[in-house]
């Protein structure tokens, strides 16, 4: 396998064109926090040299950032003016902007701030025809032309390579605190989250965690507003029989670090379930049964009020396949999905990354064909693959 590390967008486009001309597959790699390299790849295109030129306009609450920069590096620049790109995907000290866009990755604070798709306002991409193109711009409000930036979010590098992107930002809140509610029953995590979501409070995260069964509710605002909102939430938690601890400062940071590590801190298959918020309790119940019966589910976290649950699985591939197939049956009946975010190639091959095909698959294939007719880019990742 050859490795190319272009220094700019034109270099990326040239590398793609060259690979396509030789009918070589290209695997795009950012910080390497997610991609599983495949043996069929002939060219590994690394974006890690695309790090020059973070352009932050604090007065406009926007920044244009290069794809190879890590999220941590970007935020260390933005925070000088009291702002940040409000994304907290796993491994943000290594995850690059390009990789985060390609996977549309986010973390607990998706509850308030959304995903890259919700924050991106402009994009520059390199295409396999050797050209570069841009869409959107540097203003928050802009409906001129098709919004390719949203199309690229979550496309897993299958259409084009992102070389830079512009995002709307948020001010860094003056204060943060997290209420940790401990419950005895996994199902209660889903029910409690719903009860909290109905309160007139504005947390930045309502995050479930198991084992042990914790709900983490984070407030990032003024100290007084955080205290008052925590108090309202605490009252509901106590009423429902939970025990509560309030964390701030270093203990709070440590708790969130441990939370992420539960699923992302060690090797394993990671499954992302998307379901209706009211179905979360039932899904957790089902997972609880699996955990009791067998031991393959190692950790569970998730955006409890949004219907997003992440599992880390271990054990044999057969056992993992059975669990994922079982969950797919359960969630797909109600419009949900169970996607393999990260899995060994054999498991991907056996049960597929995405789950049952939808009627949108032919259209996805047509879009792929338009952008990458020779299937040069990240072959094998698309929902349109057989």
């Amino acid at each position: 396998m050859s490795v190319v590390e272009p220094r700019d967008a034109a270099g990326v486009a040239a590398a793609l064109q060259s690979a396509a001309a030789q009918n070589l597959a290209v695997i795009v790699r950012g910080g390497g926090t997610k991609s599983a390299e495949r043996s069929s790849a002939a060219v590994l295109l690394s974006t890690t040299r695309l790090t020059e030129g973070i352009d932050h306009v604090a007065g406009d609450l926007v920044a244009t950032v290069p794809a190879g920069a890590t999220l941590a590096a970007v935020n260390s620049v933005l925070c000088r003016a009291g702002q940040w790109l409000p994304l907290d995907p796993p491994r943000s000290n290594r995850a690059t902007i390009g990789g985060i866009i390609a996977t549309n990755d986010s973390g607990p604070r998706r509850h308030r701030f959304g995903t890259p798709r919700d924050l991106i306002i402009g994009i520059e991409i390199a295409l396999v025809n050797g050209r570069t193109a841009k869409a959107g711009g540097r203003v928050v409000k802009n409906v001129a032309g098709y919004d390719l930036s949203k199309l690229l979010c979550g496309s897993l590098g299958s259409l084009a390579v992102v070389t830079s992107a512009t995002f709307k930002l948020s001010p860094v809140a003056p204060y943060s605190q997290t209420l940790v509610a401990t419950v005895s029953d996994i199902r209660e995590l889903g029910l409690l989250a719903r009860a909290i979501a109905e309160l007139p409070v504005a947390p930045t995260a309502i995050e479930l965690q198991s084992p042990p069964h914790h709900l983490l509710i984070r407030f990032e605002t003024t100290e007084q507003a955080a205290a008052r909102q925590s108090e309202r939430v605490r009252a509901v938690c106590i009423e429902r029989g939970a025990t509560c601890t309030i964390l701030s400062g270093q203990p709070e940071a440590d708790a969130w670090h441990a939370h992420e590590s539960g699923v992302f801190g060690s090797e394993g298959t990671i499954v992302k379930l998307a379901a209706l918020p009211t179905d979360v309790a039932g899904i957790l119940d089902r997972i609880g049964t699996i955990v009791t019966e067998r031991r393959e589910v190692h950790a569970i976290i998730g955006r409890a009020a949004l219907g997003i649950v992440l599992l880390r699985l271990g054990g044999t591939l057969d056992a993992q396949a059975a669990i994922v197939s079982d969950l797919r049956r359960e969630v797909s009946e109600r419009g949900g999905s169970a996607v393999l975010s990260s899995a060994p190639p054999q498991l991907l091959q056996d049960i597929g990354r995405w789950g049952p095909a939808t009627d949108a698959v032919p259209l996805m294939r047509a879009v792929k064909q338009q952008f990458d007719p020779l299937n040069t880019l990240n072959p094998g990742v698309g929902a349109w693959e057989p």
Partner: protein, 482 residues
């Protein structure tokens, strides 16, 4: 148009669903951008997605182009009929199909108006966030086509952030579901590019939208300033203090006068007013609102009115939302523009607009979303004066050039449509437009779905991507091989 084809259309939509009489077709000649007009050969008014599919399949068989239309409130000629084509009017698909309060979702047909959703869910303490000024009449289908925003999108985003899934008829007549009831659906985010595609990719026949719970507290401030610059400084100070209001709107003297004449909101007679609204939990809003008030005072606000109740708040917003229509009180005709500039470039661009006003001899009112730099200059003219309408259009075009030069965009929420497609080439290069049109070619290879809109020139979808020439990157010195 072929008589047999019309008969087939009539059979699909049943009595009253096909319009071919010249006098009845007049309604469909334009959207709210009334100076662009064209007569369609026919208008069909389906009631179901299956009917839309049949109509589109007939059009495909006959090679007839079609234009989907909601309630005709668009401001860029996006629903302008095309020559030898038909209009598919979606006003009869106007049912709210399902409301799921626990999950904060509603499923609606495209002809439901924006405000109807909010009215429908208000008893549950919920609302639909995007609030374009035309929300009383504009349709959700049209909002999806245009990615409509509104005064509160600074904090809450646009239609694209509030539509979770759609059912749509593709230009070949196939039905497709993009997105869905849950937040993440597998594969490419085609919904993200469909929203805002101005009816050029598909016809949406059903949408699942996200509802929000009403915030516990809403605080609204109306502040008068002696100059636009002073009001602009207040906005900068608010943002610099880490406060993201739900809305920040600004109006200048001419639009204040017009609004006063039309709906009597009792605005102060100053050179500029600023409407600042904060919402959220009471504890947070109360604390931050005090900061906003003192910042406005510090920037020289000459008057300050805080809405004490919903009635007072509605009066303030009525003044703002009526601004477009109110221009009719001070000018026989007006031309609305929709350019966007980075917020920090507002003073510079507004100064250029004032110079243009003096030079052109046409009065220009300014009402805009100050938080996000979306300008709505209203260029006053009198179509009875020969040449003045064309002059107004030129002036509007010059303002767009200022927006592009300031690093902004030619449209913030009205869409490109027919109106601004020639300016697309100023904002985007040929390669940018080519990349966008690849999406068009995937959805609509025959180019029959709202043709002629958005892009200055269509791309031929039959083009085979050019022969790849070897282009060793090492040779160019752009990358190294290991």
């Amino acid at each position: 148009m072929n008589h047999a084809f019309l008969l087939e259309l009539a059979r699909v939509v049943a009595p009253g669903g096909l319009i071919t009489e010249a006098s009845d077709l007049l309604t469909y000649e334009s959207d709210a951008l009334v100076h662009l007009r064209a007569t369609p050969d026919a208008v069909v008014l389906p009631r179901t997605a299956a009917q839309v599919q049949q109509i589109v399949k007939l059009c495909r068989r006959e090679g007839v182009p079609f234009v989907a239309r909601g309630h005709g409130t668009g401001l860029s000629g996006g629903a302008l009929p095309v020559k030898n084509g038909i209009v598919i009017g979606l006003s009869r698909m106007n049912r709210i199909l399902d409301v799921d309060i626990p999950n904060l979702r509603a499923v609606v047909e495209p002809g439901v108006t924006n405000l109807e959703i909010t009215k429908h869910v208000a008893p549950f303490g919920c609302y639909y966030a995007p609030d374009p000024s035309s929300q009383v009449v504009c349709s959700i289908g049209g909002n999806i086509a245009e990615n409509s925003g509104g005064a509160h999108c600074l904090k809450y985003g646009f239609t694209v952030h509030h539509v979770l899934g759609v059912e749509a008829v593709l230009p070949d007549g196939e039905l497709v579901h993009l997105g869905g009831p849950v937040l993440d659906t597998p594969g490419l985010d085609l919904l993200g590019v469909l929203v805002g595609s101005e009816g050029t990719l598909a016809i949406v026949t059903k949408a699942t939208v996200r509802l929000l719970r009403r915030p516990e507290k809403v605080s609204t401030l109306l502040a008068g300033f002696r100059s636009i610059d002073a009001a602009g400084e207040a906005v900068s100070a608010i943002i610099a203090n880490g406060i993201v209001p739900a809305a920040v709107e600004m109006m200048d003297r001419l639009t204040i006068e017009a609004a006063e004449a039309a709906v009597h909101p009792n605005f102060p007679k100053t050179d500029a007013v600023l409407i600042v609204e904060l919402d959220g939990p009471e504890s947070e809003v109360d604390e931050l609102f005090g900061v906003v008030e003192s910042l406005c005072q510090g920037c020289g606000a000459s008057t300050m009115e805080v809405a004490r109740d919903q009635t007072q708040r509605e009066r303030i917003w009525k003044g703002r939302k009526a601004a477009f229509a109110a221009m009719g009180r001070v000018s026989p005709n007006y031309y609305v523009q929709d350019g966007v500039v980075p917020r920090t470039k507002l003073p510079e661009v507004l100064r250029r607009i004032r110079e243009l006003e003096a030079r052109s001899g046409l009065r220009i009112g300014n009402v805009f979303h100050a938080g996000d730099g979306n300008l709505h200059p209203l260029i006053c003219y009198d179509e009875a004066v020969p040449g003045q309408a064309e002059h107004a259009e030129q002036v509007a075009g010059e303002i767009l050039t200022y927006c592009i030069e300031a690093g902004g965009a030619i449209t913030g929420e009205h869409g490109v449509g027919m109106d601004k497609r020639t300016y697309m080439a100023q904002m985007f290069g040929a390669d940018d437009l080519d990349a966008m049109q690849r999406v068009r070619c995937a959805f609509d290879p025959s180019g029959s779905c709202n043709p002629g809109k958005v892009f200055p020139t269509p791309r031929l979808c039959g083009e085979v991507p050019g022969p790849y020439r070897p282009h060793p990157v090492e040779q160019a010195g752009l990358a190294e091989r290991f």
